[in-house]
Symmetry: C2
Subunit: 105 residues, 2 copies
């Protein structure tokens, strides 16, 4: 697992800031897919899909393995969990602060 | 609240893909701040801070109000919650799929 420092957070949020890359994540929640299946699903070229997959793999949102000439992609939950944990920590810090203010008033 | 369509998701994840903007979110979990306090906290100019705040406001991560010459910024939990919900839905869909596979095997 990536150390979840500033660069890892930059990468995972940047990866998710694109509709096609979110569509890949969404698709892979239903099960593994080959690169050509993902390209067909997105309606873009295989080359464009490979570029998106690189960004997703760099941020631990997707992993893949090659058998013969076919590359199969899987969702990697590490990236989703890290990003979700980052957001949740900030939201709960904010909510606890509101609770403390409420207790003082 | 923004309709959480593809554009809203693009905006919130793009906003969070920058270390300075995440530092603003982090800082505001501890309470409201003026623009100059945020600029000092980030160690960047007020102009650069205002640019970051625009991106954060467009994605409902921050809201602000002006009293006289002072603009005060607050965390807006809507953006955090929307992004967290997006991630959580995909992670749980993936986990349920694994559970179903486990039940079949």
């Amino acid at each position: 697992m990536l150390k979840y420092g500033p660069e890892a957070a930059d990468r995972v949020f940047h990866a998710l800031a694109d509709g096609n890359r979110r569509a890949v994540v969404e698709r892979l929640t239903h099960g593994p897919s080959t690169v050509s299946e993902l390209a067909a699903h997105l309606g873009v070229t295989v080359a464009a899909t490979v570029q998106h997959l690189r960004v997703l793999q760099d941020s631990e949102l997707v992993r893949s393995e090659k058998t013969g000439r076919v590359r199969t992609c899987h969702l990697d939950p590490a990236g989703l969990r890290s990003a979700e944990a980052w957001l949740q920590r900030r939201r709960t810090a904010w909510e606890h602060r509101l609770d403390r203010l409420g207790a003082v008033r």
